[in-house]
Each structure stands twice: as structure tokens, then as C-alpha cells.
């Protein structure tokens, strides 16, 4: 018995002692994402930040120091993400955390960041709570939030004649936020609008045939869709098959992003009003430079994930370049109000609520040569789709 127990104790000691502390000539940052759970988004995302990292490296690092990214997979589980965050911060000596895909993972990491006073840059999670109702000093968010994207869509939806609306959304933070925001904004713009049905399939477990018929039974004039990934593909297929979309306009979050749009192929539903990323058509000089570099490096076109990953790493580089030291408080103070250049133009992290002003594209879906694309799109700047400052101040708890 004795030798075995001592062996076991030795294992502890080894596991604890192994991680080396960060050397002076490098800066370590931790990147946590759902690489195995939603690779369709996170793999391009990883290629995006790798490209940015290589560019930073080629330019001589951060003031002569090498930027090292330790990336880990949370498998889509918030509990994993917290455990990894603990390890990265305590064991690997990272100066900040970034990443997250699912809103619940983002909220869990944000709670961790508040407790241990570590800077967390939420790159993809869209939950409003992240910067508003549960916002705090240590969490920042890059992408336009659920509220912002719902605002972009509701503005378009208010122009439609439809009054009877139905909603379908995955039953977790992102879905609930997205429906609540859309309802509030649309009814604010058009008080006569009513919501006649709502469906809440469990995330990635939609039983599409029955959900589609349940929606059709309420006979809405228009539908607001929040499902994405595998749920979306099944919803679209069953919806088309069962005639749900005939004579009804659908307004849909994120569906124009190539990672969700391309798997639909020629079955993509034409005419849907969506937020997304027309990667082949955006023709600003800064985006063209990004796209060409990305295609050269990886041999494929950029996805929304690529754009987010690339921009996030550029934001981190801008932050580390500007910050006088690597103390968390200094980093937070520096990131508040920080402006930097990205493929979508100049972006700012608002000091008010730590939300960035990165925007997204709004347009309609169409199929061209058997390939789904976004048409009639415009870039919606994030700064134009946020509530007035005094509203945000009310939403955000006092520090």
C-alpha cells in the first residue's frame, strides 16, 4: 500500500510543478475556445488568429518580445473552460485570456475573470449580459452583441408589412437574449406587432420536422430565426420541404455567415434577411489586404471566424503595444477606449461598457450558380446600433 500512495503523491507534485513560468523574453496569452465542439467556426477562427500572430511575429513581436499563444479546447463546456482558465492563469502565467464561442462559456469565463482579476477578451460570445447586466471591469467583447445584431435586423423587419411574428431559438442564453432583444426593439418600432408562437429546441438537438409544423400551425406572417449550425441546416431543410417559408419572410441571425450558409448549398433559402459576411464582395482596401493574405496563407477563403480571430489578435497586439506594463489593471485601463485598425476599418473598445464597435453585414440570401451568397448587403457599423449611453449605464451594474 505505502509505495503506491507515495507514487500517487509524487504524481501530484509532478503535475503541479511541470508548467514553466513565463520567461522574460516572451508574453503569454491564453486562448480558450470550443475547437472540438463547433469546428466549423472555430477552425477558421484559429487560422485567423494564427495569421495575425505570424504577422506580429514577422514585425518583430511586441516591442521585441515574442507573443506566445497557448490555445486550449473547452469542448463547448463552461466547466471545462473555467478549469482551463485556472490552469492558464495559475500554471502558465498568461497575462490575459481571450476566446469563447458559446455564450454560457463566455459568461463563465467572465465570472472567472471578475473573481481573479484577469483581463478576458470575449471574442465570439454574443450574450448581452456579458457587457451589460453582468458586465464588469475585467471583461471586454469584440463582436457585435445579440442586441446589436437584433437591432440591425429589427430595423429591417420594421420595414416589412408583417404583423404576426413567430420565433425559433435554441434554449440557452444566446437564444433567449436574441429573442428578447428582437421583440423589444421591433415592438418599440411597431407597437402593433404581435408574437404568436415561440419554439425553443434544445441547442443542437432540434427535432426539425415537428418544430416546423408547430410554427406553421400558428400561421405567422413572418419568422425570426436564431438557430445556427446543425440546427439551422435541419430547420431550413424541413421548413422548405414542409412549405413553412412560402409567403413568409424570415429574418435570421448569423445565417449569412459562410460557416453556416455554405453547408446549406443550393438549398439555402432565398430572400431571408440575415446578418452575415459576404467575404467575396467586401471591397475595402483593408479587407482586400486581409482576404488576400488569408487566402495565400491557408488556401481557402476567410470565414466569419477567420475575421473575428484575426481581428481579436490584432486587438491584443494593439493593447500590448500600448500598455506601459503587463499588470491587469494597466491592461484594463489601456483597453478602455483603445482604437485599432482591422479588416473592417477602425474599431474602438468603448470605455462605457467594454463593447467594441466592430459591426457586421446585413443583407438578403440568394443562390447564384448553385452557391448561396448574400446580396443587397450593407456594412452596419456597431457604433450605430447601440442603445443611448444613459440606457447602457442603467443596464450595467455599478462597479
Amino acid at each position: 500500500m505505502s509505495s503506491r500512495r507515495i507514487l500517487c503523491a509524487a504524481l501530484f507534485a509532478l503535475a503541479g510543478a511541470a508548467p514553466a513560468m513565463a520567461a522574460d523574453h516572451e508574453i503569454r496569452i491564453g486562448e480558450i475556445n470550443s475547437y472540438s465542439r463547433i469546428p466549423a467556426f472555430t477552425e477558421p477562427y484559429r487560422r485567423g488568429w494564427r495569421l495575425a500572430l505570424e504577422e506580429i511575429e514577422a514585425a518583430g513581436g511586441i516591442r521585441g518580445r515574442k507573443l506566445v499563444v497557448i490555445d486550449r479546447d473547452d469542448a463547448g463546456k463552461p466547466a471545462n473552460a473555467v478549469r482551463i482558465a485556472e490552469e492558464l492563469v495559475r500554471g502558465e502565467g498568461v497575462v490575459l485570456l481571450m476566446g469563447g464561442f458559446f455564450s454560457n462559456v463566455g459568461l463563465a469565463l467572465s465570472d472567472f475573470a471578475r473573481r481573479y482579476r484577469v483581463l478576458y477578451l470575449a471574442t465570439e460570445p454574443l450574450s448581452d449580459a456579458l457587457v451589460w447586466s453582468k458586465g464588469h471591469r475585467y471583461t471586454f467583447r469584440l463582436r457585435p452583441s445579440t442586441w446589436m445584431q437584433a437591432h440591425m435586423l429589427a430595423a429591417a423587419a420594421a420595414g416589412l408589412p408583417a404583423r404576426r411574428w413567430a420565433t425559433v431559438a435554441p434554449n440557452y442564453a444566446y437564444g433567449k437574449d436574441a429573442v428578447a432583444a428582437f421583440r423589444e426593439i421591433l415592438q418599440g418600432l411597431r407597437p402593433e406587432v404581435t408574437f404568436v408562437a415561440e419554439q425553443w429546441p434544445p441547442l443542437f438537438k432540434i427535432d426539425a420536422g415537428v418544430v416546423v409544423r408547430a410554427l406553421a400551425a400558428a400561421d405567422p406572417e413572418a419568422i425570426y430565426n436564431v438557430t445556427f449550425g446543425s440546427d439551422l441546416a435541419e430547420f431550413v431543410r424541413e421548413g422548405r420541404l414542409r412549405g413553412l417559408f412560402e409567403g413568409r419572410t424570415v429574418v435570421s441571425l448569423l445565417t449569412g455567415e459562410p460557416e453556416y450558409l455554405e453547408p446549406l448549398g443550393a438549398e439555402a433559402p432565398e430572400g431571408w434577411i440575415v446578418t452575415g459576411y459576404p467575404w467575396d464582395a467586401v471591397d475595402t482596401p483593408e479587407h482586400r489586404r486581409f482576404r488576400e493574405a488569408y487566402e495565400r496563407r491557408w488556401g481557402e477563403h476567410p470565414y466569419m471566424g477567420s475575421l473575428v480571430g484575426y481581428t481579436a489578435m490584432k486587438a491584443v497586439a494593439a493593447l500590448l503595444e500600448k500598455a506601459p506594463d503587463l499588470d491587469t489593471e494597466t491592461l484594463v485601463d489601456t483597453l478602455e477606449g483603445l482604437e485599432f485598425d482591422s479588416p473592417v476599418g477602425r474599431i474602438r473598445f468603448r470605455a462605457l461598457d467594454h463593447q467594441s464597435t466592430m459591426g457586421t453585414w446585413v443583407g438578403r440570401l440568394a443562390v447564384r450558380d448553385g452557391r448561396p451568397v448574400m446580396v443587397d448587403w450593407r456594412y452596419a457599423d456597431g457604433a450605430d446600433h447601440l442603445p443611448p449611453d444613459e440606457v447602457v449605464r442603467r443596464l450595467r451594474p455599478a462597479e
Binding site: C8, F12, D207
Partner: protein
């Protein structure tokens, strides 16, 4: 009217695919008594293979249907391979070994599918000729769904004919009734088991492949499918194919109409029906009653209290652990805390599996009740750490008493399945009752009181509580209570004659195990600062089983502690690798197949051999 008809038919169509997969599982269980956790993985493999084949074969009906069929056959071949290489070695082992082995297999297959087909979501093409819809009473109905409606009954009929009209069927039925007798009468068990397993794999592959036009394929399918298929097989009665059909229809119709009334609680609804059925008919809708399989022969050795050397070593280890904060960097302490919490959880499960001989597949129920109890106490009631921990223990104990009251009469695999159902209901409730539990978003901000929150203080507190709980557990095992438990486990009739009351003892031991698992859950919540539904998930239950098996079933406490340490450290180390599933799954397979007495038992065997050799050399 048309709406209800189409909704009903859609439910039937979904039920067909579910039934095919479930029929495979229940068939394999009926003959080999293996609860195959990797069955969902076989369905996933079938679906991915079909996707790949349909893409390669020439377009047209022949290519599409050929692809589906070849995929199912390939899965059958794969199943055969798995049976011959791995499962054949664990037929004699108790249920938990088989479950752990197949859990390891599931992890390996997931990595295999990832390598073969890539991580992206895949949506297959619709079958030529069945891509459209027909109008039924004014409602559109996909023709493919209509086709599926007939597939379920057709396969049910074929399986019935196979069982009643062929020699193979006679042998299968004979082996399901009485394995030993069939073997004694000259039935070649090995070939029969291989054939049945291949048939089961074929059905899984076919069920998966037929979902191609209706479902997006993704790498989480395996767990999703296996949970549903367990539900169906248990509800229908383990081993009963018509029962599986009935249960599949019931579950899918419940879903089809449930979402009209309760769109937010479809998951809970299904599990609740299962629990109600099991309470009334523990053997499931069409299952047959079965006596427990008796205790694992390896458990029949009496337990001995530790000798003075082991006591000294334990004292030294505890001393070392007390000093650990000054020996390792902070993350080492985090890991050590995780190990202790998990060890407590595994030890409480070991009390049921070992001394009490109760196979629990749903031990996460108590861990999760503890975790949510503590989290809600902090979040809703604003309680401090210690009252919250007390509430955690109380919640888990209450849950265990409730379960004990229902399950006290059950034995063997039915006890195991009801415990699985109990945990599944709690999990579904945690996912869907988001007003209380926050759903998938969990409960955040569950941190210990400020005076307890420094890492070192928290670590020492967990250490003290864990050691106290383990000492209590060990004392109980050697006390008259533990002796009575083992007496009831090994010789129920004799024990009852001596005046022991098996039912009451069971409820009591469940309460103790539940309370300690609840404490572990509460500590887990505070250590992580948050609680999510995965504390209740079937994977958590299986992880506990794996830790106990790694440590070894025999013994009185050291095994699960060592098993938990190995499991947590292995998982922590492996989770950095892209192939962590292969590493963890492979380790589980290695231990269950090559070292069935666990690490402690295996090392003891090696030590014994070494001692003998020394003695021989000296003598």
C-alpha cells in the same frame, strides 16, 4: 385534423430510425448481457459512412440506397471486429466493467470518425425519388418521412421472423433465456455472440444512415443517440425488441405533441414518462423480470483492516498533503483539490458498488444535487459556505432516500437502469427548468466566503473534509453496518434468515453514499465557482464508475482514491492533446481488459508474484 395526422406521422418517422438503433442495443443486451455504451457511436459511424459513400457513388437511386446499405454493412463488419478483439474478453465481467469498456470504445470511435470524416457538420443529400412532399388532408408531408414510417414496422417484422422462423433465431432465443444451458447443449457461444453483435451493429449503422437526409451529422451525435437509445430500451424493457418499438413511438409522439403544449420542457417530459413506467413496471413496458446476476466473484474475499504499515503510510500521505501548499505551485493545488473532490465522489460510489453490491449508473444524481443545492443556497438564499454545504448534503441525501424508496426492491441491471433514469430526469430538469437552475447557462458566482477563499485555505478545508469523510466511510465498512451490507450482498436469503432487512439496509446505504456524493458536489461547486448541468450528465456518472474500476472494486477505500487520482491527472494531462479521447479511452480499455482487478488489485497481484519469487529464491 390534417395537422395532427402529419404531426403524428412525423413522430412515427422519427421513431423508426430511433427504433432501429435501439433494437440493435436491446438485441445485443438480450443475448450477451452487455450494456453497450458505444452503440450510439456505431450509429454515428453508420451515418458518416453513408454520407461519404453517397457522395462518392454515382448519383441516382442505386447510388443512394447502395450507399446506405454498404454503410450499414461496413458498420456490421466493424462491430464484428470490435467484438472479437475487445468485447469477447469482458463477457464474464460484471456490468460496470462492460459499461466502462464500451465507454472507452465510444471515446476511441469518436476520434476515429473525426480522423476519417473531419470535424465539420455534414448534411447529406435527399434520396432521389423521395425528395418531395405529398399533401395529406391539406398538409404537406415529406415522402421520405412517409417511407420511414413503414421502415420501423418492417424491421420489427423481419426481426420477429428471424427470431421465430430461423435456426439462428432459435439459438438467439435459447441463449437469451439461459446462456449456460445453451452452451451446454453445444451451441457455439462465441460465434453466436459475434453474429448477434454484428447484427446489432448493422441495425445501429442502418438507423444512423437512414437519418442522413433528416439530420445534420456532427461529432456529438454519439452521446446524443446513446442517451435516447438507453431511454428507449429501458422504457421498452431490456432485451425486448417489440418493447423498444413501442417505447420509441411513445417517446417520439410525446415529443411531437409535447412541443405544442410545453415547448420548453420536451426533454424532461420523456424522462418523466420513463420514470413513471419504471416505478410501476421496473422491467419496462414489455421486458421480463430477471433476478440479479449475483455479486462479482472477485468481491467475495473478506475485507481486512489495514495493517500497521499501511496505516503509517496513510498518515504520512495525509501529512504530505497537509504540507502540499508549500511544495507545489498554485495550479498543483487546484489539481489536488479536484482529485480530492473526485476521490470523495468515487469513494461514495464505491460504497454502493463494492460493499453494498448495488450497480449505480446514475451516481451523478447525488453529486449534481449537492452541487445545485450549494449553488442555489448561495445564489438564492444568500447562505454562507458551511450552511450551503450542509444544504448540499441534505439535498443529495433526500434525493437518495427518494430513489431508495422507489428502487429498494430492484436488483441487478434494473436497479442500474432506474438509477440512470433518475439521474437523467434531474439532468433534463437542470437543463430545461432555467428559471431555477439557469439551464445551460448554469449558476455563476458560487464562491466560498472571503475568509475561506484563498486557495490554500480552501485546499486545506477540502482536505480536512475529504479525509474525515473517507475515515467515516471506512469505519462504516468495517462496522456491523458494513458487515450486514456484505452479508446481504453475498447471501441475501441467509442474511434475511438472520434477521437483516435488505430493503432498509439498501435505503440506508444509498443515503450515506448520496450524502457523501452531495458533499463532493457542494465542494466542486465552490471550487469552480459555478455549476452547470454537466454535473448531472450520464458522462459524469460513467466517469465515477471508471475511477472506481481503475482503482479496483475490492477493498475498503484506497482503490477509489487512487483511481480518482489517476483519472483526474490523466484527463488533465490528456486534455491538452488533440487525441485526448484516444488516450483516455485506450487507458480505460487497457485497464478493464488487461487489469480487471483495477490498479490496486493489479499491483497487489504483481507484488504477490514478486514476493513469491523472492521467497522461492530464498528457500
Amino acid at each position: 385534423m390534417g395537422f395532427f395526422l402529419v404531426q403524428f406521422l412525423t413522430g412515427l418517422a422519427s421513431a423508426s430510425a430511433l427504433f432501429l438503433v435501439a433494437a440493435g442495443l436491446t438485441l445485443v443486451f438480450g443475448v450477451t448481457r452487455i450494456v453497450n455504451f458505444a452503440h450510439g457511436s456505431l450509429a454515428m459511424l453508420g451515418a458518416y459512412l453513408a454520407w461519404a459513400l453517397v457522395g462518392v457513388l454515382p448519383a441516382g437511386p442505386l447510388g443512394w440506397w447502395g450507399g446506405i446499405l454498404v454503410a450499414a454493412l461496413a458498420v456490421a463488419l466493424f462491430g464484428l471486429l470490435v467484438e472479437v478483439v475487445v468485447l469477447r474478453r469482458v463477457y464474464g465481467a460484471p456490468e460496470i466493467f462492460q459499461l466502462a469498456t464500451t465507454f472507452g470504445l465510444a471515446l476511441l470511435i469518436e476520434d476515429l470518425v473525426r480522423v476519417l470524416f473531419g470535424p465539420a457538420d455534414r448534411l447529406g443529400p435527399r434520396p432521389p425519388g423521395l425528395a418531395g412532399t405529398v399533401i395529406l388532408l391539406g398538409e404537406p408531408m415529406p415522402t421520405y418521412d412517409l417511407f420511414l414510417v413503414f421502415v420501423g414496422p418492417a424491421v420489427l417484422g423481419l426481426l420477429w421472423a428471424l427470431a421465430r422462423r430461423t435456426r439462428f433465431g432459435v439459438l438467439v432465443r435459447a441463449a437469451s433465456e439461459d446462456r449456460e444451458m445453451a452452451a451446454a447443449l453445444g451451441v457455439d457461444e462465441r460465434r453466436l455472440f459475434s453474429a448477434v453483435f454484428a447484427l446489432g451493429a448493422f441495425l445501429a449503422g442502418l438507423g444512423g444512415a437512414l437519418q442522413l437526409p433528416r439530420e445534420t451529422l456532427h461529432l456529438e451525435m454519439d452521446l446524443e443517440v446513446i442517451v435516447e437509445v438507453f431511454l428507449v430500451t429501458v422504457l421498452g424493457g431490456m432485451g425486448s425488441i417489440p418493447g423498444a418499438f413501442l417505447a420509441a413511438v411513445l417517446i417520439r409522439e410525446l415529443e411531437a405533441f409535447g412541443i405544442l403544449l410545453f415547448p420548453r420542457i420536451t426533454l424532461v417530459l420523456a424522462f418523466l414518462v420513463m420514470a413513471v413506467v419504471l416505478v410501476v413496471r421496473p422491467q419496462g413496458l414489455l421486458g421480463e423480470t430477471e433476478t440479479g446476476s449475483g455479486p462479482d466473484p472477485r468481491l467475495l474475499r473478506p475485507l481486512r483492516p489495514a495493517g500497521s504499515r499501511a496505516r503509517l503510510a496513510t498518515a504520512l500521505l495525509v501529512g504530505l498533503l497537509v504540507l502540499l501548499p508549500w511544495l507545489v505551485p498554485p495550479y498543483g493545488l487546484v489539481l489536488a483539490t479536484d482529485v480530492m473532490v473526485f476521490a470523495l465522489y468515487a469513494a461514495s460510489l464505491h460504497l454502493l458498488l463494492g460493499p453494498a453490491g448495488l450497480v449505480s449508473f446514475g451516481h451523478a444524481a447525488y453529486f449534481g444535487l449537492g452541487a445545485y443545492g450549494a449553488a442555489l443556497a448561495v445564489d438564492r438564499l444568500g447562505l454562507g459556505t458551511f450552511p450551503a454545504l450542509a444544504l448540499a448534503v441534505a439535498a443529495a441525501t433526500l434525493g437518495a432516500l427518494l430513489f431508495g424508496a422507489v428502487a429498494r426492491r430492484l436488483a441487478g441491471v434494473y436497479f442500474a437502469m432506474l438509477s440512470l433514469a433518475f439521474a437523467a430526469i434531474l439532468w433534463a430538469t437542470a437543463v430545461q427548468w432555467d428559471e431555477l437552475t439557469g439551464g445551460d447557462d448554469g449558476i455563476l458566482g458560487v464562491w466560498p466566503d472571503p475568509r475561506l477563499s484563498p486557495l490554500v485555505v480552501w485546499y486545506e478545508l477540502v482536505l480536512v473534509l475529504t479525509v474525515l469523510a473517507l475515515v467515516l466511510l471506512r469505519t462504516l465498512i468495517f462496522a456491523p453496518f458494513g458487515l450486514a451490507l456484505r452479508a446481504v450482498r453475498d447471501h441475501p436469503v441467509r442474511a434475511a434468515t438472520l434477521g437483516l432487512r435488505p430493503g432498509a439496509l439498501r435505503v440506508a446505504v444509498l443515503a450515506v453514499a448520496g450524502a457523501l456524493a452531495g458533499l463532493a458536489g457542494g465542494l466542486h461547486a465552490f471550487a469552480k465557482g459555478s455549476v452547470f448541468p454537466d454535473v448531472l450528465h450520464v458522462a459524469r456518472s460513467v466517469e465515477g464508475l471508471v475511477a472506481v474500476l481503475l482503482g479496483g472494486l475490492h477493498g475498503a477505500g484506497a482503490g477509489p482514491v487512487i483511481g480518482a487520482a489517476v483519472f483526474v491527472l490523466l484527463e488533465d494531462w490528456a486534455s491538452r492533446l488533440p487525441w485526448w479521447r484516444t488516450v483516455v479511452g485506450g487507458t480505460i480499455l487497457l485497464v478493464t481488459v488487461a487489469m480487471p482487478e483495477g490498479i490496486t488489485g493489479g499491483l497487489a497481484r504483481l507484488a504477490g508474484r514478486w514476493r513469491r519469487r523472492v521467497r522461492e529464491a530464498e528457500g
